[in-house]
């Protein structure tokens, strides 16, 4: 009867296995269902705007003419935020993980995490009332001295409520996300690889270049993409800081608008086709975020052979 005991599937552990795999499967399916539900809602609600005659859409030139300036505006704000935040975040994370004395590192890490706990409306208020005012002399200087660059073309905004200010506020908001994740990854660098570099006669910075940064590269990309997600979707801070308007190349004049702020500012008074237009704008934002994340995945997997996972 050995055969039957081998084929019997009864056992105390089996039930637990089934419950666990069922729960895990359900959780996975739930995520997909929610994502699909949101996408479906956006598409269904957006169809009227996408199919309406051009003249009925706000601006009178069709949905595409309405959406592309604010898509560009969204990307500009997010790119400014990342260009400023990424190097600072990686620097702070490296300082915390590899340079600071242990006591200071813990304190600093805590303070950076606190930045993430500040509500976005507070950032918005700070940006609109303080940063914009303080930074406008710098904009004047940029307009005077670097005005030949289209992005710094004058005259600079007198209030300082420009897309550059919005980008700077966003960079402060995404800084803690990128810093925290990068710091965790840096701390996980195998001691083995750090010692390999040091034993070859590497200085601390060379050790970081040789072992820490290559190991952390996929993690840094993921962290930056999470930050980008936040910067693309951030609504309140941009709505408060930016004095919006038509698409302009200059970052120091008022003008430009982001999708999220556009939706937030217009939604309360919208009705009918206008609602549909705004939801269609939301759909576009959704697609952009999805595309950005897929590109990030692709970048990470492209170097899989050298990732150390094998």
């Amino acid at each position: 009867m050995t055969a039957t005991s081998l084929t019997s599937t009864q056992g105390a552990g089996r039930t637990g296995d089934k419950i666990f795999s069922g729960a895990a499967l359900a959780a996975g399916c739930l995520i997909l269902a929610v994502l699909f539900g949101v996408a479906l809602f956006l598409v269904v609600q957006a169809i009227p705007a996408l199919t309406a005659p051009a003249a009925e859409i706000q601006g009178g030139a069709g949905f595409f003419a309405y959406i592309w300036p604010i898509v560009i505006g969204t990307l500009i704000a997010a790119v400014i935020a990342l260009v400023i935040a990424t190097p600072i975040a990686i620097g702070v994370a490296l300082f915390i993980s590899h340079f600071a004395p242990r006591g200071l590192a813990a304190g600093l890490g805590y303070v950076v995490d606190l930045l993430a706990a500040i509500p976005s409306v507070v950032y918005g208020a700070w940006g609109a009332t303080f940063l914009a005012r303080e930074i406008s002399p710098a904009y004047n200087w940029l307009a005077d001295n670097m005005g030949w660059l289209p992005i710094f073309q004058g005259p600079a905004s007198a209030t300082g409520k420009t897309i550059l200010t919005a980008g700077i506020v966003l960079s402060v908001m995404v800084l803690p996300i990128i810093t925290s994740l990068s710091r965790e990854i840096f701390l996980q660098t195998p001691k083995l690889h750090e010692e390999a570099a040091l034993a070859l006669g590497a200085t601390r910075w060379e050790m970081i270049k040789m072992s820490v940064l290559p190991f952390a590269r996929p993690g840094i990309i993921s962290a930056v993409m999470l930050g980008l997600g936040r910067a693309l979707g951030e609504t309140m801070a941009v709505a408060l800081v930016l004095s919006s308007g038509a698409l302009t190349a200059s970052l120091i004049q008022s003008g430009n608008q982001t999708i999220a702020a556009e939706i937030a500012l217009n939604f309360p008074e919208a009705s009918g086709l206008k609602v549909s237009t705004l939801i269609a704008a939301g759909l576009v934002l959704f697609v952009i975020t999805l595309a950005v994340n897929m590109i990030a995945r692709w970048i990470i997997t492209r170097h899989k052979e050298f990732s150390g996972a094998n």
Binding site: E195, A199, G201, F215
Partner: protein, 259 residues
């Protein structure tokens, strides 16, 4: 291209804890010296103090002198980075840089400190180092593949190639075969025999047969009990240590009557 190491009255501390007490030892140039002893007796810790790698561990510090051909490694103004480029190290587990190709792994140490090297010179150096580590024939057709794709024994030889590419005076090996199978171990032992023609080699091993096979001199470390410092019990010709040791503790350990 090899130098001797003389250690005088060296104490190693972790914070306030004395880990290794009062070691004095003279390591000859162009020879293989083995450190043996039970786990936790401080032989790996002591090995690390020979190229200041112990400084990576928070709180670790030493008192005493380590002289590399008369120059104190712990003298004023001595940069640990310079020390480590003169005294290379091979670790217990193979640790090639996973994001680098085999070729870049070999060149990793050479490219440090902003040193520039032409492609031709690099090719020569890669071939010479890999041949020196008995790895050339196995990897010459896949130099641009990642080092992490090699077997454990090959990875360890790659690490040795990386260490000898910078032409150090001394090579320290911290249980280099403990993660390897017997055939790979044999390959490394053969290599150690060849390395001593050019380099001073110091090896920590748990395998007494290995110490007997590869080393010219053997140092036996022991520890009186948990929380006590490790000490150098006996140091002499490998043959003497294994056949006719002076100390009772050494005899007990090498004959297997201990721990």
């Amino acid at each position: 291209m090899s130098k001797r190491i003389d250690v005088k009255d060296l104490n190693v501390y972790y914070g306030d804890f004395l880990a290794v007490e009062d070691v004095s030892i003279n390591i000859e140039a162009k020879s293989v010296t083995a450190f043996i002893g039970p786990s936790g007796c401080g032989k790996s810790t002591f090995l690390r103090t020979l190229n200041r790698m112990h400084e990576v561990i928070p709180g670790a510090r030493v008192e005493g002198e380590v002289l590399l051909d008369g120059d104190n490694l712990y003298g004023n103004g001595v940069d640990p980075v310079t020390v480590r480029s003169q005294i290379g190290m091979v670790f217990q587990r193979p640790n090639p840089f996973p994001t680098m190709s085999i070729r870049d792994n070999v060149l990793a140490g050479v490219k440090l400190n902003n040193k520039k090297i032409s492609k031709g010179e690099a090719d020569v150096l890669v071939e010479r180092s890999l041949k020196g580590a008995n790895l050339w024939n196995e990897v010459k057709d896949r130099l641009d593949k990642p080092g992490s794709g090699l077997s454990g024994g090959q990875q360890q030889r790659l690490c040795i190639a990386r260490a000898i590419a910078v032409e150090p005076q001394v090579i320290l090996m911290d249980e280099p075969c403990s993660a390897l199978d017997p055939i790979s171990t044999l390959a490394i032992e053969d290599l150690i025999n060849e390395l001593k023609d050019q380099y001073t080699v110091v090896i920590v091993t748990h395998n007494m047969q290995q110490a007997a096979r590869v080393s010219d001199k053997t140092a036996f470390f022991n520890i009186a009990g948990t929380g006590k410092p490790g000490k150098l019990i006996e140091f002499g010709d490998t043959h003497t240590i294994f056949s006719n040791p002076v100390e009772k503790a050494t005899e007990d350990y090498v004959s297997g009557r201990f721990g």
